[in-house]
Amino acid sequence: MLAMNFRGPFRIRADRNRPEPKIEHPYDAIVQVTRSLICGSDLHLYHGLVPDTRVGMTFGHEFTGVVVEVGSGVQKLKVGDHVLVPFNIACGSCPFCKQELYGNCHESNPEATASAGFFGYAHIAGGYDGGQAEYVRVPYADVGPTLIPEGMDIEDAVMLTDVTPTGYQAAEMGGIQQGDTVVVFGAGPIGIMAARCAWLFGAGRVIVIDHLEYRLEFARNYAFCEAYNFKEMDDPVVFLKKATDWLGADVCIDAVGCDAVGSTIQDIIGKQLLMEAGNATAFHWAINSVKKGGIVSVVGVYGPPWNLAPLGSLMNKGITVRANQASVKRLLPKLIEHVMAGRLNPKGLISHRIPLEDISDAYRMFSAKLDGMIKPLLIPPRAVTA
């Protein structure tokens, strides 16, 4: 089959000779991919920032597909079902899944206890091949995969596997109260969706900070927010303090993670020397820009083992940090409702539709922010009309 094949940092190929996945466990299903996406967090793998990313792996944790085979223990899912597949692999029965922490399952990732299993996210997340392929093995098939509702656009469906729930949960974790000022660091797809969702919780003002003008412009239009370029400021923290009566924002959201820019020191230590997990400037700014007693919500992805962060300010300001991988399954019913009612328009974030065969170029464009790319959608060759 055709699938993405990682060969090293910045090097990937569309490989037509990948073996098709097979049922490995009674609760498995095999899904023929109809659409998949490249996530900003895939770029952390692409840039070589995530340990235990092995040559030969297939990335991709955002995909929809048609079930073509099920294991002997699968009861709900049937061959022919068209499903959206949450990026988290969740057993549904461990203490964490039972408490709806589906992004923190204890039975899907042997290699690290800090993370659940995710599709196509290196061995730090269980070593599963992902959805940037024609076929994928989907474990615990009765738990995560969700039938695409009748009438839902397939592009909206694939955007419900990660981007929309993660953006929504970023706002939810912010504990936004009516009238709150919310600052979102990062105008990538997740940041833009978080800004859009902040209004659903009653925010009074939403500000997005980034350094790419085309993305800021997109955020202004899509998320009805203010958007500012930190490269045009001496100091974004001072700018935000000034913009919030010198008190700080009620809620700050880090939607960037370890690939941030804005600090040369962190670039050298984190990205060049790999002495910390990338560049944590967004988290740093979030702590410094939030008000005393405020909330910092983190959905930006950081790798192990550590990052430089102003813990002194965290303590002295009495900040609450809330962070997690999105619990996609928990949020899907509510988000499906928002999409079907037209309140959220996830597919509006998709800027490029690219054949899976051209995946090397798609990654490069997304990484280098070429051609105004916001979110690239991949279409496998045999699924064009699906």
């Binding site: 060969r7 940092p9 910045f10 090097r11 990937i12 190929r13 490995e24 466990h25 009674p26 609760y27 498995d28 340990p51 235990d52 990313t53 092995r54 040559v55 030969g56 792996m57 297939t58 223990g73 692999i89 057993c91 029965s93 461990c94 203490p95 039972k98 408490q99 709806e100 922490l101 204890h106 039975e107 899907s108 042997p110 290699e111 206890t113 800090a114 299993g117 061995h123 269980g126 070593g127 474990p139 615990y140 939810e172 790999l274 790798g303 192990p304 083992p305 609450t320 809330r322 997690n324 619990s327 928990r330 090397s360 990654y363 490069r364 464009m365 990484s367 280098a368 070429l370 051609d371």
Partner: protein, 170 residues
């Protein structure tokens, strides 16, 4: 917010704290920073005694974090450890996720693995198409000026270093 009450746990706690003055008198179930991400239903207190799926057959080497007693009921079968990088990874999994050496050793294994990947390609008669794999077509199409400048600067630096290293000593 619904408060879960486990009678057995309540009895156990009652035995433990019966002589502690004021125990629990200010407890406030509304003060739960995990809400709404966590649905409190007592599952935490099941500890490891929950219903588990059957074990996926282990036909390949699978490393597991030493912060857990064994492997999970399912695991990925992508790219099992092999070669020198596999031996290095095995070493990494002897230390916990809390140790920097665990992660740094894995980073080293990743670097070795990239070289192994090129050797494996050549062995299979594949000469890696670096231009295609690096997505330079996209750079050429959308970012030509900066891309050409970057390549030229890198080529000049490499040429200067090679020239300096191979210079004839007087």
């Amino acid at each position: 917010m619904e408060r879960y009450i486990d009678p057995e746990m309540d009895r156990r706690i009652a035995d433990t704290v019966k002589n502690i003055p004021g125990w629990g008198m200010d407890a406030d179930p509304e003060n739960d920073p995990t809400y709404p991400m966590k649905k409190r239903n007592g599952a935490d207190y099941e500890r490891i005694h929950y219903e588990k799926a059957p074990q996926q057959p282990v036909n390949i080497p699978v490393f597991h974090s030493i912060e857990r007693p064994g492997i999970t009921r399912v695991f990925g079968t992508s790219t099992p450890p092999s070669g020198l990088s596999g031996l290095i990874r095995k070493q990494a999994f002897k230390s916990s996720e809390a140790k920097g050496t665990h992660w740094m050793t894995l980073v080293l294994a990743d670097k070795v693995n990239v070289v192994e990947g090129v050797i494996e390609d050549l062995k299979n008669g594949i000469f890696p198409n670096f231009v295609a794999e690096l997505g330079w077509k996209a750079e050429w199409q959308y970012n030509r000026k900066k891309f050409v400048t970057r390549i030229a600067v890198k080529a000049l630096v490499v040429a200067a270093v090679v020239g300096w290293l191979t210079r004839k000593k007087k």
